[in-house]
Amino acid sequence: MADTISEPSQSETSAERSQKLEGIGCKRKRVEDIRFTQGHGNYVDDVKLPGMLFGDFARSPYAHARIKHINKESALKVPGVLAVLTAEDLIPLNLHYMPTLAGDVQAVLAHEKVLFQNQEVAFIVARDRYAAADGVEALEVEYEELEPLLNALKALDDDAPVLRDDLAGKTEGAHGPREHHNHIFTWSAGDEAATQEAFDKADVVIEEYLAHPRVHPCPLETCGSVADMNPITGQLTLWGTFQAPHVVRTVAALITNIPEHKIRVISPDIGGGFGNKVGVYPGYVMSVVASIVLKKPVKWIEDRMENLSTTAFARDYHITAELAATKEGKVIGMRSHVFADHGAFDACADPSKYPAGMYHICTGSYDIPTAFCSVKGVYTNKAPGGVSYRCSFRVTEAVYTIERAMDLLAQKLDMDPAELRQKNLIQPEQFPYTSAFGWEYDSGDYPTAMAKTLEAVDYKKLRQQQAQMVEDFKAGTSREIMGVGLSFFTEVVGAGPSKNCDILGINMFDSCEIRVHPTGAAIARLGVKSQGQGHETTFAQILASETGLPADMITIEEGDTDTAPYGLGTYGSRSTPVAGAAAARAGRKIKHKAQLIASHLLEVHHDDLEWDVDGFAIKGMPDKRRSMKEIAWAAYNNLPKGMEPGLEAVDYYDPPNFTFPYGAYLCVLRIDVDTGVYSVDRFYALDDCGTRINPMIIEGQIHGGLTEAFAVAMGQLIDFDETGNILGASLMDFFLPTAVETPKWETDHTEVPSPHHPIGAKGVGESPHVGGVPAFSNAVNDAFRAFGGVHTHMPHTHSNIWNYARSLGMIDS
């Protein structure tokens, strides 16, 4: 396509040339959508190799049981079934357990015991998926049921059932001593004694139990892989739904002993991740094992129920939140204790050095001088995981804690929740601000964001309307009430600085490699992996602004470990803060060399040149210039003496700090008390993500994140009955809102760039989720404030809302 770009004519102004680049700030249309909207994406399930076999899991019907006997023959006699693999087959390879990202191990196939319903028990490999499914149905497994443990709050009782026989006698866990057979870790941060002092001297304190129930990221594409072990070359190619392909390659090398250079991991197009595709799952491992054993490519693809019931849930935090304040409403202390339900194995996809991730961002956007938090992780008979569902690890939980707590404190003080927040916001002049937990917030102007929000929605008037509706309800002339929910959130994203983060000992830098071709077109490869975020569009924009090559002339490629530089993947809003920074810096390296070439072409010292949108000109002589296109050509045939040919650069970026996107959200909803049915009248979202690379993509990310926040707050729940059967693991029950249920979103922004990021960008994909969940929950709770309500838990389903209204005496019967 090189011939389609026209050389900028001398008469074009810099503004015109700048526009042609479609660089930072441009609402450039998403280039990947051309293939996605025409059905030409290439997802894992589109990978079809000659002779490919299909694997499927036989899964446990019980939450806790001993495996007495597996009759492989029962499945092997099904036509088309070629192999039945069980833990016994993996033991000689030492693969029946695999390491998790959280320092525990997880059963690849259940050995002796099953620990959650739908746990992987046997892998059945067949000529096609139909035969594999028949084999699964035919397999006979004899179980002896054991007492299940489902309530995390009871996990550490003396008489709680023992779940992990494999850990018997192990008193030291990955994060310190273990106190009980179901205990994983206890972790704390902050100053406990000073916090106690603050609570002792406070005029007002609040304490509330806030459940953040188990939910699931539920990407539209489920997890899957295709493994192709070539028995001749010893080369393993593994396609999969991996948010972090390089990490998968390293893990695969470590657990299989296949040398890392003989493993090629490819993440093709990914249909949404939201944290669900960070972890390593038994299905991936089994597709590899089966390919080695059967010497054929093997595909494994989850169905929806398997996805919802086995691969990586999120949340399941049982939180106690406390605030201490003066009677004027100045918060002087914050405390939180958490019981964290990690399921049967500690397989949290946690990239930080802390077992509760970034939960200690829970002082939020407020200047709170002292704080303390502690988190206890426990085992239960539920699926393992614990992923950051559209947030950095445990940030949604943390923001929920502080934002609900602020509303509760406002209520106790009989103060308006907006006013209380305004009193406590960190002030612009306090940045960089060190929180009580030691985070260094890089930048922000919180009061402006808050003021803009309150003005945009006419907050005073909303409160008047609400008061009127309360009056009408109390007078018996209406059965509707109204809630106004605020949240002012601060995120911590861009994992991350090596002082805080690593995955299996690997620092969490990211990377970009760029090659400019002779005609001025280029390819850039990055260590992250888009799952729909639009990297092919936005990273080209960053490079366009940095290098002066039009975005349309830059191909962005990710996801193939044989070609992309090493990186730690996409989650936790890290792509722009980390890989985006690497891209900017790689672009600057290109520009640096280009300047030297331009000085040679224009026969002046390079210090006498200045950058002008898409090329270099002699200072004060804008007509004496060389465009990047000309310079790229010269890089291959007309270089200064001694300079190596070509125009390429690589950058590995270890961020000095996290970035701290923030925002103010406000939700207005009405509740029909007689049914618990709600309607969202208004949702206003103001975000500050620093420099805005592509405002259209930002808006799309916000819409998506708000929709998932709405889903979590109002309906999503992975529930269990008392025997451990998972309830509602299908889209009939699991709440995935359609366009009909989804409210209309109003978006707005302020723009305070990050001072330490090369282009000032902070990341945005997760803010709407993190900030949205408490805004919805606060709105529901706020509706009941005038009727004596204090706190009702998520999900705010019709029936839960109705039950709460009834508990407050608002429904007679």
Partner: protein, 299 residues
């Protein structure tokens, strides 16, 4: 989510279909839109060896309107919604079909499959009870008719015998000027009812002339609220008569607790749906005294 092996048969005529079903016995199942049966097969909760596809049978595709209304079993929900003739005489059919599943499912799903399925979550059975419909059942042995109000025995158990199919549905044309309402509470598009109520009534002056109430997904079968007629007919629509109808309806409900809510919640919602359906039906009915008597309904 992958079905077991089965044989797929496409008969050219109704007679051929009936003999295929006779020959197949318990191993054979009729198929219409497949929107209930195929998911069950994918979950391996149903595993018929033979599927007899009835979609191509023209005899099952007609809607005819005379003194009574006849709808062929293979008419899709989408076609029910689109039929202006049907809407003009019995608008509650469209109202109900519009809250079934989503447009994609309604393109395939049929009224016959919906009423024959026996799933208490299906919306058409309660409506058919409300309209006092008769199902026309045919087998290679012959034809018989069963009232919708007598057809349902338990979840997935109906009066249908092996080898028998529903070929059509017939019900008396509701009198003109009747009021109607299908009120369905659900969690989201595509969901089965948390609770739903169908009401058809007519008024004469201030008095209820006829009334019929039936309920969806509030027991293991659809429920016809027999007492509603006694309570409402001849009386005026007051808060008390409506309350009495709600009580009579709630008394026969036995919903299960599930993701939609507890048994208690669903029962109360059943009552609320009855109330709202009666109110809306009354507002829509031709009557003489709407201004005065119905003033309170509008608040």
């Amino acid at each position: 989510m992958i079905p077991g092996d089965f044989e797929f048969k496409q008969p050219a005529s109704k007679d051929e279909a009936l003999s295929m079903l006779r020959d197949g016995g318990d191993d054979a199942r009729p198929l219409l839109g497949g929107q209930s049966l195929i998911p069950m097969m994918k979950l391996r909760m149903a595993s018929p060896d033979i599927l007899v596809d009835l979609r191509g049978l023209d005899d099952l595709r007609h809607i005819s309107i005379g003194k009574s209304i006849h709808i062929g079993a293979a008419v899709t929900q989408h076609e029910l919604i689109g039929s202006e003739e049907l809407f003009n005489v019995c608008p509650i059919i469209r109202e109900t079909a519009l809250v079934i599943a989503d447009p994609q499912i309604r393109y395939s799903g049929t009224i016959g499959g919906n009423v024959a399925n026996g799933d208490p979550g299906n919306d058409m059975p309660a409506l058919m009870q409300c309209l006092d419909a008769t199902y026309i059942l045919e087998s290679s042995e012959g034809i018989r008719e069963v009232k919708a109000r007598d057809f349902y025995e338990a979840a997935y158990f109906t009066a249908l015998q092996t080898g028998e199919i529903v070929t059509g549905i017939r019900f008396p044309k509701p009198e003109s000027g009747h009021g109607y309402s299908y009120q369905k509470l659900k969690r989201k598009v595509g969901d089965y009812a948390t609770a739903a109520a169908a009401v058809v009534l007519s008024l004469s002056g201030d008095n209820v002339k006829s009334a019929s109430v039936a309920l969806t997904n509030l027991a293991d079968t659809p429920l016809f609220v027999e007492k509603a007629e006694d309570i409402l007919v001849g009386s005026q629509l007051t808060l008390n008569t409506i309350r009495a109808t709600m009580d009579a309806a709630e008394a026969i409900m036995e919903p299960v607790s599930d993701g939609r809510g507890s048994r208690e919640y669903r029962t109360k919602m059943g009552g609320i749906m009855v109330k709202r359906a009666i109110e809306q039906a009354a507002m829509r009915a031709d009557g003489t005294a709407k201004g005065g008597l119905f003033g309170w309904l509008k608040r």
